[in-house]
Assembly symmetry: C2
Homo-oligomer: 1006 residues x 2
């Protein structure tokens, strides 16, 4: 296909291609949908057992992607081409790649990649695993194996292929702005769609009336429920879609807060679920009419090479042979590749050992498309072995005359040997009759036939998926299995596949596959295609190439280790290349540039030795240097567009000061019962005011903290943060500085989010710390007050994270702070909105302390030490932390077993007493008790730091011998009541010394 296709021809060609594959060609839906998935031809038809193949265009409306028609790649409406293949035809990736050829994409000229991207739609209760398909760094297709829809597990799984048509058409035509994209020979996409982009963007971002849209949402939802209650699936579905679109507009207007979002999602999900259920019931009651149609659908089994003749194992049984196992997969996610390799590194040798198969070193290798087990030499046969099986004890197995009892006879019969062959053996300290079974080693071929499926099945992944009727779960579909012992195929079946001796090469390289005669051929074949099978070598190769390219540009030579690891797992045949972008984009904040390059594109940013960014990036192509210019060019266009996008947002945002965004926070709901984000901001300010005094901030710190509190949420309604939420705080600081705020205020606005993730830093300034505490206290108090506390595994508002951040920061800042006091502040700030009752305060405090406990346990503090301290000091995390460190040391002391018991005696004997007895010094009669009374008085007089374990024990230590003598000298529970109560009172005073420090009864050995 020489002439670049115009847009409409491309669509028609895709229609023809998929029609030829047996797909029904369907039409776009008559409702604004965010994706073709929402068309009932996907959303409903993927449910249930009936087969279904469909393809259609879907003009997809995503209000928040609106760019007023100015961004080359992003629009409020883009054109999707949606394909559903149900069930998995076995080769959907290949079908897809053929469709690209059918529309004129020469895969050799591009870098086509399957990059992990899992999809879920919280509104539809749907999710799946799969990839983005990249064409030279540009996402052109979403490829997903649907696992669930409407909250129902899908069986069979559907393959969903969603083409982003503009993004495919543009590089094909050599255009890199949608406005230049030729729709037909006369008109461009810009001609026919620019005005719509511009106007709808304005409508969605600036004009849409929030109040009216909320009313619409409400009406749509009610109407959906009405339809549903009448069993009308499709009308209900229509209204769910309208809810969804209305939600999207509200969201784009910045009118939806985090908590409201959760609530609305949950309502939509519930509707979608109930609707799916009704649909499933409908189909069931119709007895699944399309199941019959299935018969006419040609099955498309993955072609398997005919298994070569395997000569019987016996004649080779003593010869060592190479073992080569290749699990051929669709592109594994980077993390899954790692975990698979790790698991195999343990499990493969363990298996051979366990099977008594002698072997040379076992190498575990792999790329995104294959997991490989290789051993140069493996015995062709198991070693013979002896197995000893324990029978009855000698006393039970032999009678007094030494003859086998019926028990022994039964045991021998069970093992298939004569009773005489049983021997005596001393096992586990007793003497038993045992059977010694001599096992003849089995041929390796035979035994591996049985064991290899188990080995593969033993691989576990965090997010496994199913794809075909075998219902096997794996990271991504397994598409071929190569298993060779020497030149023999090890025959087995797994995941619907039969093992063979065929492998596949690098995508788009010739030959596409190879029948492997022996292991060397295999390695030579992959090598010849540039595939680096060894992850370490691959990583080194990338690292060297990147460093080399950095050198060539006089750039800093360090490179991000995490990114390197990831990229290593994204390619089979890495080739690095340099791309550049317009240096005007360097005006953007570094964090934005880096975030876009690393997170979105997996590019290595390039920096000058002074640390400043260069307008360059390095990316790793999967393949060789052929046509690398066109790959480079494509990647450059992509990053340009992404930066243009960021630039668009920021330039929009800085047209006003950060403070000017505050009124818009009113439209951003935090929680229906807790008001808007502006309400929250006001509460944060009120709490900060009190905390500043309590925590003794300097005047200037307080001023900073109060200003930061006021502005801390303002960036949430900026375009940049709306677009890239992880930049919240970062953009806040950036915009604050642009707006003339002090550096300190900017810093506090960024830092109050710290720690943003496990292991992140804490705020470095008091102002940031205090705003962060206030924010978290408000969330915890507010959400507990309105009954939105976490339950079970559900924590939709991230309160665990809030509590952890709160205690972590207090610990790191070493600040004494009474959580109860803080919650009381929060209660006061909330008082106009909701009542946060003392009972709720107690529950939320317990919740926070239990997070604190987890934090400490994660830091490897011993559980009983932690429990002992938190029982008394949980209220004050920093102080508790100090105490725990001290107690940890005390517990390790060699004399601890004299200290604790002395104290414990005093406690144990008094703890059941309901009365606190007063001590009458003159009532003591025995010298030992008089001595103890004096010692107690002395100890009590010692000045101790609040909560200090050291101070406690330093005061207590001198008392230990006195206590011991006391118990030797007197009987506490004397008959004489006066005497007894006086002694108990004295011991009560000893026991009470630990009050506010620890509850030592929680310690082991108390």
């Amino acid at each position: 296909m020489d002439k670049p296709q115009n847009f409409q021809s491309l669509i028609m060609n895709l229609q023809h291609f998929w029609a030829d594959q047996g797909c029904l060609i369907w039409q776009p839906y008559y409702s604004q949908v965010g994706a073709g998935t929402m068309n009932p031809a996907t959303f409903l038809r993927v449910l249930g057992p009936e087969p279904w193949k469909v393809a259609y265009v879907e003009p997809s409306v995503r209000p928040d992607d609106g760019r007023y028609g100015e961004n080359p790649y992003r629009f409020q409406q883009h054109y999707q081409f949606q394909v559903i293949l149900k069930p998995d035809p076995g080769n959907p990736q290949e079908l897809y790649l053929n469709s690209l050829k059918a529309i004129g994409i020469d895969p050799h000229k591009h870098d086509i990649r399957f990059v992990e991207d899992n999809w879920d739609s919280p509104a539809l209760g749907a999710w799946g695993l799969g990839w983005e398909v990249w064409l030279d760094g540009q996402e052109i297709t979403q490829f997903t194996y649907f696992q669930q829809a409407g909250g129902f597990v899908l069986d069979p799984v559907s393959v969903e292929i969603t083409y982003g048509l503009e993004r495919i058409a543009m590089p094909l035509q050599g255009n890199y702005h949608f406005r230049d994209l030729k729709w037909n020979d006369e008109f461009t996409d810009g001609d026919v769609n620019y005005q719509a982009e511009s106007e709808h963007s304005k409508y969605y971002f600036e004009i849409a009336d929030v109040n009216r849209l909320r009313q619409m949402y409400d009406l749509f939802e009610k109407e959906a429920n009405l339809a549903l209650s009448n069993g009308l699936v499709l009308p209900a579905h229509d209204y769910i879609l309208k809810c969804s679109h209305t939600f999207n507009i509200l969201d784009t207007r910045g009118a939806i807060g985090v908590t409201e979002r959760q609530a609305l999602f949950s309502r939509m999900r519930d509707l979608a679920h109930r609707n799916a259920e009704v649909y499933l019931n409908q189909r069931q009651s119709l007895e699944y009419p399309w199941l019959n149609k299935n018969k006419t659908v040609r099955a498309q089994p993955e072609p398997q090479p005919s298994s070569p003749k395997t000569t019987s194992g016996s004649d080779l049984s003593t010869v060592d042979q190479s073992l080569l196992i290749e699990i051929g997969t669709e592109e594994l996610p980077a993390a899954d590749l790692n975990t698979a390799l790790e698991q195999l590194t343990k499990s493969a040798p363990a298996l051979l050992d366990e099977l008594h198969l002698k072997h040379s070193e076992i190498k575990i290798l792999g790329t995104p498309r294959r997991l490989v087990i290789f051993a140069d030499k493996v015995a062709s046969c198991q070693e013979d072995s002896v197995q000893i099986i324990k029978g009855p004890s000698v006393s039970r197995g032999l009678d007094e005359s030494g003859k086998p009892t019926p028990a022994a006879e039964g045991f021998a019969r069970g093992k298939g040997i004569p009773v005489e062959k049983l021997t005596k053996k001393t096992l586990e300290g007793g003497e038993y009759l045992v059977a010694e079974l001599h096992l003849k080693g089995q041929p390796t071929l035979e035994i591996l036939s049985t064991e290899l499926p188990k080995l593969i099945a033993g691989l576990h992944f965090d997010k496994p998926m199913r794809w075909n009727s075998s219902n096997v779960a794996f990271s991504r579909p397994i598409r071929w299995l190569l298993a060779l012992l020497g030149e023999q195929v090890i025959p087995f079946e797994y995941a619907g596949l039969i093992s063979g001796n065929s492998t596949r090469g690098l995508r788009f390289h010739n030959p596409e596959s190879l029948i492997v005669k022996k292991a060397q051929d295999y390695f030579a074949f992959l090598d010849g295609q540039g595939i680096q099978l060894d992850p370490l070598k691959r990583k080194n190769s990338i690292s060297e190439q990147v460093i080399q390219l950095n050198k060539s540009e006089l750039a800093e030579e360090t490179l991000d280790a995490g990114l390197l690891d990831e990229v290593t797992n994204l390619v089979e045949a890495p080739t690095a290349l340099i791309g550049s972008f317009d240096k005007t984009h360097l005006n953007l904040p570094d964090e934005v540039l880096v975030s876009v390059m690393k997170k979105h594109q997996r590019y290595f940013p390039m920096r000058k030795p002074d640390g400043s960014l260069l307008p360059r990036f390095i990316t790793i192509r999967n393949g060789d240097r052929q046509f690398i210019e066109s790959v480079t060019y494509g990647n450059e266009q992509v990053i340009q567009a992404r930066f243009a996008d960021a630039n668009f947002f920021i330039s929009q945002d800085i047209q006003q000061k950060l403070g000017d965004f505050l009124p818009r926070l009113k439209t951003l709901t935090f929680h229906l019962k807790l008001g808007s984000m502006l309400d929250k901001t006001n509460r944060i300010s009120a709490i900060v005011e009190k905390l500043s005094d309590l925590l003794k901030l300097s005047d200037s710190e307080k001023v900073t903290a109060l200003r930061a509190a006021e502005l801390c949420k303002a960036d949430l309604v900026t375009h940049m943060v709306t677009e890239m939420t992880p930049l919240q705080g970062i953009m806040g600081r950036y915009y604050a500085l642009k707006s003339g705020e002090s550096k300190a205020v900017g810093q506090a606005i960024e830092e109050y989010y710290y720690p943003r993730f496990s292991g992140d830093k804490s705020p470095s300034t008091k102002a940031g710390l205090v705003v962060g505490i206030a924010d978290r206290l408000d969330s915890l108090a507010g959400l507990f007050a309105v009954g939105s506390a976490p339950t079970g595994t559900k924590d939709p508002f991230g309160l665990r994270r809030s509590a952890i951040g709160l205690v972590q920061n207090l610990i790191n800042a070493e600040i004494d702070f009474n959580l109860s006091q803080g919650l009381e502040f929060a209660a006061q700030a909330l008082s106009k909105t909701v009542s946060f009752t003392p009972e709720q305060q107690k529950v939320s405090l317990t919740f926070i302390i239990s997070r604190l406990e987890n934090v400490l346990l994660d830091q490897s503090y011993i559980y009983d030490v932690v429990a002992a301290i938190l029982a008394e000091q949980g209220n004050n995390p920093s102080q508790a932390f100090q105490a725990i460190k001290q107690l940890t040391d005390w517990v390790k002391r060699p004399d601890w077993n004299t200290i604790l018991p002395a104290y414990a005696r005093c406690v144990r004997i008094t703890r059941d007493q309901k009365t606190r007895f007063s001590v009458e010094p003159d009532g003591f009669v025995d010298p030992s008790e008089k001595e103890l009374a004096a010692a107690v008085k002395t100890a009590q007089a010692i000045q101790r730091k609040v909560g200090s374990v050291d101070d406690l024990f330093n005061a207590f230590m001198p008392m230990i011998p006195v206590i011991n003598r006391f118990f030797e000298g007197v009987m506490v529970m004397a008959e004489d009541q006066t005497l007894r109560q006086n002694r108990l009172g004295l011991l009560q005073q000893v026991a009470e010394m630990a009050k506010g420090v620890a509850d030592f009864s929680k310690l082991e050995g108390f």
Copy 2:
């Protein structure tokens, strides 16, 4: 194309076909639309001067077409394929017909027809003229020349072609139910759409919450206004579409009354108009960027045969030749064909006469596709002629000496003749100088070249249209012009065409066209194709065929004249055929069957001699008997589906009694301020109660009237009437009888609508009459009360019709009835709802009387007679009518000119007196006045029928001589005041005799 195409291939083939014609292939819209027209790719793009060609599928949602998936052809969602060609390419019909071939329709095997169907969308302020295209009686396409959109006149005009895809695909596949239609090789339309049909139908008809939908409508409308006020055309358009769809659902739920419908349409139209205006301004301010693209579009001029060499007229100038003019058009509407023929019958001979062209008889012939003027002999040259031009009068033109004055010289110079050549002539009673111009006859060829365009331009049509840049207006586009004088082309240009000698045959017949050498060839050619050019012969042919077929089935031989006239104008080559339908459909009411056959299908129903219907129909195919079986079969499927539709409705309806529909009238709004149709029904009942007494109905008539009043609107919410409004009343009676009501009640329910149109009958029973009066009084009173009276040409609620019906019925029933009294009854019934003030009552009364005046003038009563009576008796139409008849007779009397003046004298002399003087009998002095006083007394004593003109004049006649003597005998305006006032008082009494009868001062000659 041998294999019947599946649905998706058909769509793809249409896409390819139109893409090849340079159309941009667009996508369905993301909003529920009733038609592809509402997609902005049509609705907006047809505005303004820029060229645009587009084609797309549009799944079109029309809630009230929902049939629960049970009707073969009707669904709440059908698939349209929409094409817009802007400007007119010159041959859109041919392109369209080619597209049918491209999807496998062999036109020879079918009857393909262009049947007048004009399109308008009150909601969009859009309309156009064109056709339904019929395939064997089935409407498969709407073909329209857009004249206006959004209230703007379109220039250029767009051609809109809207395919009904299912209806095309079904006969192609040989399937006649959508559920059997193959979508692809595996699935049928029923597989993928039946459930949707069933569920959405249920939702639209039974479930949708009216109250919520009204709220949605309101929100959408507000949001549209908001977008519009921000200049956002497309967002506004989206909300207009949502309004429209919501309106449609409400309508389907039966929740929209006539008056509310008007109000909502007007609001939507206003929005659409303002939006179109903003769009036009946008394009203008962009300087119409697509105008440039036009240059690359290949113009597609209608191929014109090269004009044959025309030999100079001179050598043939004296020979008579035949004249043949053919105006070739796209299919003319039946009525337009008639009017065109009528006009030409007058104008063509008149033109030749006026041009002094001698000619034999001129025949005017025509079919839907051609208007023909033919004369066997026309002189090749005009006759020579003399023209006499009036100059100055002799007295002004000649001085006393008889020499020409400068005035005469100037006149002669102006006419180009020497002054001596002026002659004297007596003209218009005076003597003038005249110029006699001797004109040499011009060659006919030359003169017709100039005059023929004017002849064509002189044709006028009720609804003319424009189609190309010539902006010529005609009934339908003119596509070729044949103009032959003998063998010579009469060259001229009109409507963008150049005249020639080429004609075209019957569609799909070979040869398609002919170069006509001489007139005989032309007639032979058409004859050879079966075209009957003479309308009368064509009509007779049809009539004979129909009668013949009736005979063959032993059916009644009469046939509907109106239908015959219409059908004659629908075909060029008529061939009658008989089709049949399932006789179970004969259970449907006759009116329904006949209405469907005649109105929808233009079929002749067949009746047994006893008048009952046969399950047969006759239809007239355009063409010969080839493949007539397939044409018959197709037509039979269509009528089956239509009857199934009616059957569906009626069987739904009769599941409950007519009275059971009453509560649903509550949801049918009559007018926002006047409540529901149920409210109206209640008011009608209240008025009927009073009218029954006033008009002295018998007890049983009153009972009937009251029951009929209660039920009279109930059928409006039945399915059948919702579907076919003209059946209102008819179905009401049918359902009433089915529900066990008396025959009289049923009859009244039907009759109260009488007269339904101009010339229709009046009710035959008192009950029907009274209910009809009450209904109309309520409408008039209510709508005047709320300010919805007709203004200018606007009469959205048909109040003129109501008033006319009201007075017509009163006249026909000869019932004395005081309209003021009636309006007062209506005011009382309305009193709980709105106040109908005395002032408004007066205005509405005037309105009704002025309708009455029109009715009478239409019956040719003389305007002054009518005015004289109505001035006094307009209030009582029947009585006024009698009086007018009488006065008309009086006015015709030979002695009228003695009667009127005698009376007039009395009036004239008294009418300016402000005071009414009492008469003092003793005050008269002259015998003549004493005599008159006595005569007045005598006349006053005569018993006269109220309002009777006869009685008045019978009383007055004897007074005439007395009056004359009086005026001779006395001077009325005597100096003596007492005397004067006494005489004036006496004359006032004479004048007052006409009070309540007529205001004779309105008469001419008064």
